[in-house]
């Protein structure tokens, strides 16, 4: 038994969700091996080798791996697959893009977005936007799994001393060319790993009004999130969206401002430790999951809140 983790990184650093995936792998039998595929990414391999719980790192470097395209990495992973019983990726847009291709090439039914490990072949996962939790047993000889980061506490980034082994690369399939990226630049913590999140909904009324939430976030050292309605209205970029089809978050404190609490939004945040809801409609469903609800006009109370912190 051994587990292969497909590392998500930007060629200089591991993305946080990779550490949560390592933590999940430690609940399975056998060795934990991390595959770092990229371009000029030795530093990532070294970082993975230092991570607690990692037994070995495989490094595959090629120019056409630079953007971690699924159409190239899938074959690389499949070439390594015979040595592994489990192949894990984080349930991020990266992992979701690539893992099903690997599963299909290995003729395996993937298990998506697991939140608990009951045994080497049995897993829990949310379905119907988190309205139900299914316990699923895989009868495939290999398991291909994506891991919900918020469900597994990351282990230490230090303390490990795994070896790094370079492996052969695969040819460029040339099915896809990378054109470019527009990444949201922010000084704030990243949404999925932030301890505190301030999220705004349609009730914010405009993108300009989000400046208020940014101020509040600055006071709290928080990340800023949003509902789908706020993203669709163009108040904030798409990567702010929390929910069934956006990001899954579980901070210590989630403050929902002008968000009604549709089931698709709750799916992304209801595992937060403490939830605060600020909404002028006392019937809003967000209050059903809130530990502390404040029925008020946000334009009145958010400035007060900023003032009192």
């Amino acid at each position: 038994m051994a587990t292969l983790i497909i590392a998500e990184h930007n060629n200089s650093q591991l993305q946080a969700a990779t550490f949560n995936t390592i933590a999940a792998a430690k609940q399975l039998s056998g060795e934990t091996v991390v595959l770092v595929a990229g371009h000029n990414c030795q530093s990532v391999a070294d970082e993975a080798a230092k991570a607690e719980g990692v037994d070995k790192v495989l490094l595959a470097e090629a120019e056409h791996y630079a953007h971690l395209l699924a159409e190239d990495l899938d074959k690389l992973v499949v070439e390594q697959a015979e040595n592994f019983t489990h192949i894990l990726a984080p349930a991020t847009t990266f992992g979701k893009n690539i893992a099903p291709r690997i599963a299909a090439l290995l003729d395996v039914q993937q298990i998506s977005d697991i939140i608990a490990i009951e045994g080497d072949d049995t897993f829990k996962r949310p379905v119907y936007a988190g309205n139900a939790i299914a316990t699923v047993k895989s009868n495939d000889n290999k398991k291909v799994i994506t891991v919900r980061a918020t469900a597994f506490d990351a282990l230490s980034h230090e303390g490990g001393s795994a070896s790094v082994e370079s492996i052969g690369t695969t040819e460029h399939g040339a099915l896809v060319d990378y054109v470019g990226e527009e990444l949201t630049e922010s000084e704030r913590p990243e949404l999925t790993s932030a301890k505190v999140i301030v999220s705004g909904g349609r009730g914010m009324g405009s993108g300009e009004n989000f400046a208020m939430l940014e101020q509040l976030a600055d006071k709290l050292g928080a990340a800023v999130g949003a509902s789908r309605a706020a993203v669709d209205a163009g108040f904030v970029p798409n990567d702010y969206q929390v929910g069934q089809t956006g990001k899954i978050v579980a901070p210590e404190l989630y403050i929902a401002v002008g968000i009604s609490g549709a089931i698709q939004h709750l799916a992304g945040m209801k595992d937060s430790k403490v939830i605060v809801a600020i909404n002028k409609d006392e019937e809003a469903p967000i209050f059903q999951v809130a530990d502390y609800g404040l029925v008020a006009d946000l334009f009145k109370v958010i400035p007060e809140l900023i003032e009192s912190l």
Partner: protein
């Protein structure tokens, strides 16, 4: 160019799903069913590509029970030219769906297959990528913009850090995100017209595809309930609770 659109019939997004008392699944009796919202977006995108003169024919395909006809008729009313129902009494896993879709692709030879990024019942987010791998095609998943030119699809994708643009060689797989477009409503004349559009039925057993399940669902439970919260009257009270009771700020 031909476009194939895969659509799934699911419990409507507005239904409050209930877990069955015996923990074998969720209640489906007398529950409103609809086309998966992401599939509606896929149909809309295909129809727009046809309206722009990029696509010549749009074929909708669904795998499931006889009732999936309803969703296919909806797709026809929205502008698809014809439909294919692959009849299966059993709920298929994404790998099996991808294998069935592969046989349909091999027969129809489309240059693009549009799918939803995720079905809102199983929340799998797998089928499009699996189909891409089985066909050896490239993919533009979680698309919020698609432009076709010179045998390539330029796809803007919603990724965790923002947006990414890829140029995918055709034939290609595209899976839709919510902001790709806003689906139209079917007009009454188009609903009437859809009744006369061709809808072929195939039996899954005739396709010679291994669709046997690989997983077993041992149980389906309610998520853990949150403990009842309280209402606070003022900002001062809220700050006090967060500091001294919850100790999170």
């Amino acid at each position: 160019m031909k476009i194939l659109v895969a659509i799934k019939r699911v419990i409507d997004a507005n239904v409050k799903v209930r877990v069955k008392a015996d923990n074998t699944g969720v209640e489906t009796a007398n529950v409103k069913m609809s086309m998966n919202p992401f599939c509606e977006i896929a149909v809309e995108e295909a129809v727009r590509l046809k309206e722009k003169g990029v696509a010549s024919e749009v074929i909708a395909v669904s795998i499931g029970t006889q009732q999936c006809q309803e969703s296919l008729r909806t797709a026809l009313a929205l502008g698809a030219d014809r439909a294919i129902l692959v009849k299966s009494e059993d709920e298929l896993e994404p790998l099996a769906v991808a294998k069935v879709l592969k046989t349909v692709v091999e027969k129809e030879q489309p240059e693009m297959v549009l799918l939803g990024k995720q079905s809102i019942d199983g929340d799998n987010n797998q089928t499009g990528q699996m189909l891409g791998a089985l066909l050896g095609w490239g993919q533009g998943t979680f698309a919020s913009k698609v432009e076709v030119a010179d045998g390539k699809a330029q796809v803007t994708r919603e990724i965790d850090g923002g947006l990414q643009t890829l140029s995918v060689k055709m034939p290609a797989i595209i899976t839709t995100d919510l902001r790709l477009n806003e689906p139209r409503f079917a007009s009454l004349p188009n609903i009437m017209k859809a009744k006369r559009k061709p809808l072929d039925e195939l039996a899954i057993a005739d396709l010679g595809v291994d669709v046997a399940p690989r997983t077993e669902t041992l149980k389906v439970e309610n998520p853990p309930a949150r403990k009842e919260g309280i209402k606070v009257e003022t900002v001062a009270e809220l700050v006090d609770k967060l500091k001294n009771e919850a100790k999170v700020i």
